[in-house]
Symmetry: D2
Subunit: 371 residues, 4 copies
């Protein structure tokens, strides 16, 4: 991760984190550990916990050795998680790095007001703008809103890895298969693009007519869900909304069709009702066959969980996308640490200067020489 | 133009233009004449003039026959143009369709306040937001700001026709030629895409690092202007800014390189100084050879004027892009006519409902069936 | 034409043509004139004539000035052409460059036996292998059989310029239009590729199942002629065979569909019967509307003649394809001149060494550095 | 495998295998077992063995249950293999399905002359045309020479799965990485294509100038091995020849470069000398880091063995390619069974009729409707 490495080296020399306490909540695995190590090297005290069930034991041990206080353990229950959140909040962090807005909420509940926070996810940002609107008195930079992430991670990282995961799990060729992509946002665009690059004929289902026209100008077919589903060899959801593919739609799929979900929530496909009407049988790693009452069989990958992470052998986004995201985190935390009131309270986008710096560094790591 | 035809038929039935006077200023040629005819059929009185020198005689005659008052003649001078603008303003139009904001300005000067206006161009919108800011007391819908135009006209229409015009004028194959595109906005994106589709290796020169990163993720090389120009077989400007390729850059082009401009202003390439230092010699229709003092020769297409229109055989955007743009005009005028104060004064984007309706109609004309 | 220039310079220095008489029959226009000039500079006497009606007056004058004997004039009738052929044959040429095998036939008739000949076209080669089989006692190198021409000229040159010619003549966008390509040989492959690159959905009609499977693996749809024609917005023939699109098929085209032919013979579309049943009306340069008895209108470009040459503004193949073809001619003539019986009599392919040399030179002209 | 299924059903009805003994040597795994089952159902007696170490226990058991005589066991040594080959030969098979020509050789040695044989591999065909030339008195159809396999398996199957395997093993994005492909045959073409589709800049190294020109016209860079290797982020061999990337070339790779081999023989990269000079250290599944004496590190995937099969998680070609190959086997065996002397002795291509039938069936399985 050359971009993150260079950013951490630069920030470390500037000692922007010197003496600060950082509350850190993110999957604790080797890549995020690089960020923690850099914060520690920059002079910070880091109190950390992972997301439920994502803390890797070796990583936690290594972090502890480097001086990070790691609170959680792989087998923590819901109660323990809440206790860890409180404990970090009680530590009175100067900066918070959050993932889902729960640590930010814990700080607010504990009457703590860090100088600023970063929030990794769009769903966390949604909570900050809905249930937590107006109650967060400190700035929260929403990393996922950066246009860099839309391009590098959502379009190319997710798009490519979702299609890879489907091919890997099925050993299927997509040539002249009909792939129906639900949602033509950044992820859907990428999925459609990479499915076509593997020879698929792609239909986009997108209720926004302007985006749908863009799909058509990009060369894809456009159809409503009912028409599209009837032709699908493969259906992939990437809408960020729930029950996009309800059971009634599933019933109209051709025999042998495959469903997968690329959204963060597994509710895009009505897996619950599908399981009830036609319980799945594991026929290959991560691949379930559901024999519908009418006789047709449909396949579901990874039980409808986010397929590029949850399917067997899924490796998530490429390392370059992690490099980018963690750099945005490091630079945003540094900007909050160094700020003198130039951030307003509440959720807000990554400052343009940080987007520009990070984009330039990423271009250079790709061998490109911008102006 | 099926999308425009359907829109005009629908609006005509609704009689939204019944009894209204419409001041109309747009190139008067067969395609825009279809719009005028529809407005007349919808019950409007239309007082029209073209842009300088663009009124086609046959079109003007036909319009007059249909009942349109056409003021200008192909050989009008600057003074006559101003007189026509005043005369339309004095007619007290209820609605204004403008192209460059001069007719809107004339209405303001004459103390007339139409119910609303549309402005075709981005440069007209710029004037409305700069010199005319605050003085226009009625709503002006800026057609060119519609995301539909960015996609259909700028990216695909301009991108494809600019590359076509260059190939046509030179009978050159672009295979493994190095094409340098200045500007990675909507037009630049399209030019880069269609140059690659003809086999070129493309470098994007783009000062905004986020857009530059998008260019790299789209697969193009990214370089600063100095480095890029040294490698260029073909250089194309599409920035909307002036003197992007100054004479100092031109001097560093390889022998035999070709320059063309895709922006609306011919000042993107410093043609004036180039002509002074190395006067061009016409070597093929629209194609000028400039022998530089150092001995190298560079070629310039269409004297730096917008190449897809100005180069020999240039046909501008495809008819589908015109169909879209004129439909946005017709529907925006109708919305203004029917409005009861739901538009604020001053320049503003095309209402989302109109974008959605038009996108849906365009999708249907492409054989696609959105939801 | 850098590749031809370098080849002629090299051959000129070797004086391979010194003192030889070359009978030359090819379109006499500025590009072929470069080849004649090089042969003259290499020491040859050249007696030349063009194809019927293709000799350009200025070119003939320039050639005469350089010392070439040009026999024909732009307005020669069939009788004059035969006289010229005889006269060249009677001159007892040492080498013959032919285009259609008529000059070769004239030599045979006159009892002349040059050391060798080249034949530009596949149809000439066909005559040599059919009607003239066994009667030609000297070697004839068939230029068009070179794999280089298949790739550079047929696939990319023809493919790109045919699609260009259609777009140019119609000012139509191909986005999401259905383009049906008849024939998936080298030309058809290129047409399908470049139509897709302009946004078209492409169907290939190809009776050979192995080629049809290749089309499908290349991502195109495959259908029989009856099914394909019913869906066509644009139909393009590129089969080299006659009556591929008969009148019965034309009758099933959708209203508004366009037909064009990319094959050398205009008989691929049954234009004769179409004209009889539904005479064409010129609606734009090269574009004819045929109103079928049933009420539908179909459009025909360039009366079914080879569209990239015959349509208005058609410029034929790019200059790079000419550079390649004329270099193969020059090197093949030189090899025949220098040969000591290493060529067998009758039609035969371009020697591999010449293909290799020319491919290497062309790669270098494209800035590539093969091993 | 719908194409194989339909072929076996058709052949079974025709009873072409009735009463025949078939000697069968091919990897015994679930997909090849489908072919064996079909032969049994068609009335044949099948005596089978796998390749060394490739027989899967469950498959062997299932085959035995269906009535197939399976000779080998997963842990057989070289001696046992030879014994099995002899035993099959001694059974006097009417037809032989071979993979490497060893069973064919055993038949010749035993003085047995089946009615005909099929040979799966190109290397087996090479042995038949070299060491065994003239001694095989019965026809041998070489499956791998079919143009269908070149397209479906080599270009698309191998090309796609090789690039997949590299991305999977490294979790690397190929965007703007420089991928150097050695060999622009069918496999190399596919690798270059799929690497580009993942965003890579691709250089082809190909000594044949005509193929190299095709690579350039396909849009790839072309360079000699020395120049190419210096720029490589990833180098992939696909030449079918030995020591294409010798140690001297490896020494000039940039720091951090990755090597992988897509050819059948692992000798394309000089792994032996690389291991001696810079022994590899396993840094991730299948991924070895070699620290060169000069200080640079290069990575080697799967020890230079065929990467789409040998790398961790490698799944080989997609199932559609197997479906094709096994169908060619089934139909070729049937044609030999039914033949009355219409095949000449020795190695020969798949009959065109079988290619055509299989291509048609495959097109139909892809939803295409050829003429």
């Amino acid at each position: 991760m050359p971009v993150l490495g260079a950013a951490l080296a630069e920030l470390g020399q500037q000692r922007v984190f010197d003496g600060l306490t950082i509350g850190f909540r993110l999957h604790l695995e080797p890549k995020t550990a690089v960020l923690v190590k850099g914060l520690l090297a920059g002079g910070a005290r880091v109190v950390a916990m992972g997301n439920e069930g994502t803390t890797q034991f070796g990583t936690a041990e290594a972090l502890a050795e480097w001086g990070c206080e790691v609170l959680d353990r792989p087998d923590d229950g819901k109660g323990a998680v809440l206790a860890h959140l409180s404990r970090i909040a009680e530590a009175g962090p100067n900066l918070v790095l959050d993932n889902g807005a729960e640590l930010i909420e814990a700080c607010v509940s504990a009457g703590r007001s860090p100088k600023g926070a970063t929030e990794e996810t769009t769903s966390g940002a949604f909570r900050l703008r809905a249930g937590l609107a107006g109650v967060v008195g400190f700035p929260v930079i929403v990393i996922n809103d950066s246009p860099l992430k839309a391009i590098v991670e959502n379009k190319h990282g997710v798009g490519e890895s979702v299609v890879d995961a489907i091919v890997r799990a099925t050993n299927m060729s997509l040539h002249k298969k009909r792939v129906v992509v639900f949602g033509y946002g950044w992820c859907g665009r990428g999925i459609a693009l990479y499915a076509r690059r593997r020879g698929a004929d792609v239909t986009a289902v997108e209720p926004d007519p302007v985006k749908a026209l863009e799909a058509a100008m990009d060369g894809f077919d456009v159809a409503g869900p009912d028409g599209a589903v009837r032709t699908a060899d493969v259906g992939i959801t990437a809408t960020g909304r729930g029950r996009v593919v309800g059971y009634e739609l599933i019933e109209t799929l051709p025999d042998g069709a495959l469903l997968a979900n690329a959204g963060h929530t597994e509710a895009e496909i009505d897996v619950i009702r599908l399981e009830r009407e036609a319980p799945g049988e594991l026929v290959a790693p991560s691949l379930y066959a559901h024999e519908l009452p009418g006789g047709r069989t449909v396949f579901l990958l990874a039980k409808g969980r986010i397929v590029n992470l949850a399917a067997a052998g899924g490796t998530g986004n490429p390392i370059e996308a992690m490099d980018l995201g963690l750099t945005l985190q490091a630079r945003s935390l540094a900007a909050l640490a160094a700020s003198g009131g130039d951030f307003r309270p509440g959720p807000q986008p990554v400052p343009q200067k940080i987007n520009d710096q990070t984009a330039t560094a990423m271009l250079e790591s790709m061998g490109q020489t911008p102006a």
